[in-house]
C-alpha cells in the first residue's frame, strides 16, 4: 500500500534532483517553523542551510532525517516520497550537533553501529570500520572509549559513524559548533575534501555564515521558516536579492535613494552614480548596498569626483589583517569601510575624528528594491 503510493509519486525524469522539498510546512502548536517551503538539492552537492537561530533550518534537516513529520507538503528523495518512511529505513544519515555518540560503546562500536543493524558479516563490518577510521585519520583509536577522546576526535568519530552506511545524503547539524575556531577552520577544509572524495551529497545546517560560504556549493538563506535566497556563496554575497540577505551576510551599508535618471540616484548624501539596470526604474525608490571592502578611503578628495563623499572616522574595529572603519557622513549616517592593514606600523591608517573621503565606482554596489 505504502509502496504503491510511493511509486505513484515517483518522478520518472533521471535528471530529477536528489532531494526535493515541495511546499513543506511544519507547525509546532501555533508556531510555524517552516512555511510552504520548496527547495531542490542536486546530486553530489555540498548544500548549506543558513540562517539565524529559530529560522527553521534544523527543522528542515530533521524532516529530511525523519525525526519530524511535515504538517503539509511532500519530501522526495531520488524522486520517491519519503514522508511516511520511518527514520531507520531512510538512506540518509545524520551527524548530530551533540555528536550523540554512544558512551557505552568503543570508537569501533560506534562507527560500526549502523552496519551491525544490517545483515553485514563480522569481517565486512571490521573492514569498513578500519576504512572509516583511516578516512577520518583515527587509525589506532578503534578500541578507545568515547570519554577518552578530545572534542575534535569525537567530532570525527561522529562523522565516520554517519558515513559508514554510504548514505545517499549526509546531514550535518551544526557539525563544527563545538570546536574552537582554529580547529573549526581546519575541519571545514577537511569536510570539503571528504565530500569531493566521496561524491556524497552533504547538507549542512549552520548559523555561521563564514562556514557556509567556505564549505558550500550552494547556500539557502532562511528566515522565519522561509527561503530568502538560494544561490552559490559568491552570488549570495555579491548579488543579495534583498536588504535582509545583504545585511545578514557580511557587513554592508545600504543607502536609500530615488532613481532620477539613467544610472543616477538622488540620496541624502547627494547624487550617486550606479550601473543602469532594469531594477532602477525612473522615479523608483531603491537601496544601494555597498560592501565595506568595495569603498576606497583617503585623506584627499578623489580626482574623479564620482561617488565621492566626505565624513569623519567615528569608530575603528581592528581585526588584525584589516580594520572596519565606521565613517559618519554629513547626514549623520554611518558607512562601513574595510581597509587592509598593509603597513605594519599603521602609518597610513586613520584615527577617530579624522576627516576622510570615501569613493566607489558605479558598479561597486548592488541595487536592491526590497
Amino acid at each position: 500500500m505504502a509502496d504503491g503510493e510511493a511509486s505513484q509519486h515517483r518522478v520518472e525524469n533521471k535528471k530529477s534532483p536528489l532531494v526535493r522539498f515541495e511546499a513543506v510546512t511544519k507547525r509546532f502548536g501555533s508556531f510555524t517553523a517552516v512555511e510552504a517551503l520548496s527547495l531542490d538539492i542536486e546530486h553530489g552537492e555540498f548544500f548549506a542551510l543558513l540562517g539565524p537561530s529559530g529560522c527553521g533550518k534544523t527543522t528542515l534537516l530533521r524532516m529530511l532525517a525523519g525525526f519530524e513529520t511535515p504538517s503539509g507538503g511532500r519530501i522526495y528523495l531520488d524522486g520517491e516520497d519519503i514522508v511516511a518512511v520511518q527514520p531507520h529505513r531512510r538512506p540518509v544519515n545524520m551527524m548530530f550537533q551533540s555528536y550523540a555518540l554512544f558512551p557505552h560503546l568503543t570508537v569501533e562500536g560506534n562507527i560500526g553501529f549502523g552496519l551491525r543493524q544490517e545483515k553485514a558479516t563480522r569481517a565486512e563490518i571490521a573492514g569498513r570500520v578500519t576504512e572509516m577510521l583511516a578516512l577520518v585519520r583515527l587509525q589506532g583509536y578503534g578500541g578507545r572509549r568515547i570519554d577518552q577522546l578530545s572534542g575534535g576526535q569525537r567530532q570525527r568519530v561522529a562523522l565516520a559513524r554517519s558515513l559508514i552506511k554510504r548514505p545517499r545524503v549526509l546531514l550535518l547539524d551544526e557539525p563544527l559548533a563545538a570546536l574552537d575556531k582554529k580547529l573549526r577552520t581546519e575541519t571545514q577544509f577537511e569536510l570539503m575534501e571528504l565530500q569531493r572524495k566521496l561524491g556524497t551529497t552533504f547538507v549542512i545546517v549552520t548559523h555561521d555564515q563564514e562556514e557556509a560560504m567556505i564549505v558550500a556549493d550552494r547556500i539557502a538563506v532562511m528566515d522565519q521558516g522561509r527561503l530568502m535566497q538560494v544561490a552559490p556563496p559568491a552570488e549570495i554575497y555579491e548579488r543579495p536579492n534583498s536588504r535582509w540577505v545583504a545585511d545578514f551576510i557580511g557587513e554592508v551599508t545600504t543607502i536609500e535613494g530615488r532613481v532620477s535618471g539613467s544610472g543616477i540616484i538622488d540620496s541624502a548624501i547627494g547624487q550617486l552614480r550606479i550601473v543602469d539596470s532594469d531594477a532602477a526604474k525612473l522615479g523608483a525608490t531603491i537601496w544601494l548596498a555597498l560592501r565595506p571592502e568595495k569603498i576606497a578611503m583617503g585623506s584627499e578628495r578623489p580626482i574623479s569626483g564620482l561617488n565621492a563623499v566626505s565624513g569623519t572616522v567615528s569608530e575603528i574595529g581592528y581585526r588584525g589583517d584589516m580594520s572596519i572603519y565606521k565613517v559618519r557622513l554629513a547626514d549623520r549616517s554611518l558607512v562601513k569601510v574595510a581597509r587592509a592593514n598593509v603597513s605594519a606600523r599603521g602609518k597610513d591608517s586613520f584615527g577617530p575624528g579624522d576627516l576622510v573621503w570615501l569613493s566607489w565606482p558605479p558598479d561597486a554596489g548592488v541595487i536592491l528594491t526590497g
Binding site: 525523519g66 531507520h88 554512544f102 543493524q117
Partner: protein, 306 residues
Amino acid sequence: MRTSADNRNWSARAILLLPYLWLVIFFLAPFVIVLKISLSQTALAQPPYLPAFDASAGWVGLMEFAKQLSADSFRLVLSDSIYLWSYLRSLQIAAISTFALLVIGYPIAYGMARAPRAWQPPLVMAIVLPFWTSFLIRIYAWINILQRDGILNDLLMRLHAIDGPAAWLSSDTAIYIGMVYSYLPFMVLPLYAVLERMDESLLEAAADLGCPRWKAFWLVTVPLSLPGVAAGALLCFIPIVGEFVIPDLLGGSESLMIGQTLWTEFFSNRDWPVASAIAVALLGLLLVPILFYERLQQRSLEGSRS
C-alpha cells in the same frame, strides 16, 4: 605562630575527619560490641553472657578477658543446618524479590522519565509518598488486604476469578507482595535518575543508523541504565536479606528468614552470643554485594571525571 594557610589546612582535615568520626561512633563501636558478644558464652547473668569486660583491671584484666573469648557461637552457626537454611532462604527471597522489583520498577521508571517534564515532579512525589506513613502501619494494612475475608479475596470473588477465598496471608506470596510493595521506591528512584538523564539524541542516532525503536531500547537504553539497575538492585537486595518485619507479619511460620532467626535467638532463647554471631556472619555475607557496588560506583566516578 600559625598562619591562616595552616588554619585552613587544619579545618580541611577536621572536615575530612567528620565522616570517619561518624563511622567510628555509629558503626565501628557498636560492631565491636556485637563482635565481642558473639565471642562470649551464654550465662545466667545480667547481661546474659560471659566474660564481662572490666576496664578497671587494666592490662592483666584485658588479657584474662581475651583468654575467655571463644568462637563457639560461630561454630554453632556454621554447623547447624537451621542457620544455613535460614541464610539461604533469606538470599533466595531477596533474589526473587529484587528480580520482581526490577521487572516491575523498570517500566515505571521508564514511563516516568518519558512523561512530559511538568508531570515528572508529581510522579516522583507519588513514588515517595508512601514513606509519609509508618512502615509498620502499611504492612498491617497489607494484612487487612490479604487476610481470608480481606479486600483481595473479596475483589477476586466479585470478579469470579476465584470461587472461594484463597489463603494469601502466611505464605511466601504474601512475603513477596510485601517486599515488592515496600522496596519499590528504592528500585524506581535510582532507575528514574539514570533514565531521566539519558540523552534523547542517542535514540535518534540509533534510529538514524537503521535501528528500530524496540531494538534501540535494548542496544542503547538498557546498557546505559545498567548503573541504575545495579544501584536499585543492591539498595533492595541488601536490606531485604536482613528483613524482619515483613516475613514476620505476612509470612508463614514454617521456615524463617535470617532476621527472624536472629530475633528468636535474641528474645526467645536469650542467646545473645549466637544472635550476635548470626549478625556478624550476615554482615560478612552482605559485604560481597556492598563491595561490588562500591567498585561499580568508583568506576562510574572515574568514567565521568576523565
